[in-house]
Amino acid sequence: MSSTLYHNKLLNLEATYKQFGERVFNIALQYLRNVEDAEEVTQDVFLTVYKKQSQFEGKAQLGTWIHRIAVNKSLDFIKARNRQKRGGGLLSYLTGTTENVAQPNNDMNHPGVALEHRELVSTWFHRIDQLPENQRTAIVLVRIEEFSPAEAAAIMELSVKAVDSLLQRAKKNLIKIELKSEGK
């Protein structure tokens, strides 16, 4: 454990944020494609890190633990949003109103994508969203965030071989999804 990150066994939150904050924000951004949502998840991640610092056993590296929390919080955020949409849909069906219904987050607000590429990347992300969670996570970590397969495997608590296998399956599934969307 780095001595700058800990003072008298208490986590130095500012130093930890400086070291991992941007990466955590970018992981969340790749899942959510919305700056406000990604910032909310980042905030939640560091609050969890602060509250649960005593539970960090030091078996993994601090960064691996924080990045794992970031992945889980992002997936939880998506699930909560989807639940809200379903709940909202049911509510509007029962009450016959359209107020307070969470709208689908189709508008991509990803500042890391150039404006001229936004449509292309949006389509790609839409296909990624149709993959199972673990395949999506493997792509986000290895292909977008450029973690090494070993780092991604540590974050996902899997073997390197399993991560490679997930990427291979994701590749096949993405080809199928594209062929289906083209009506072939």
């Binding site: 939150l13 924000f25 905030q43 890391g112 990347v121 792509i139």
Partner: protein, 108 residues
Amino acid sequence: MKKSTSIGPIDMNFRSVNDTKSMIERDPLTPGVNIARVSPSPYLFTRIQAKVDAINEMPRQMGWISWTSIVVGLVLIIFIEVSAVRSGFSTAKVDITKSFSSPSEQLY
């Protein structure tokens, strides 16, 4: 004056390499264009720190609230009991002054 030279017919269907290749030809695991790293808002850490401070402040506030409620509760109980004794409705007074005529009366 220099005459402009023709470079041949312009391909109106020109698209970038990324667009013309299908996902099968290129790697489907990448979007084909660069996704740049983005910095979060410079105020994000201030917001996180404020939340952490609120978490740390909460047990102290809770302790203050619980001690206050205990003291107020005790004062209230003493006040009610003193008032009851003075007005002759105290349960303690009834127990002391009551005399039972028979054992069966004690049961009922």
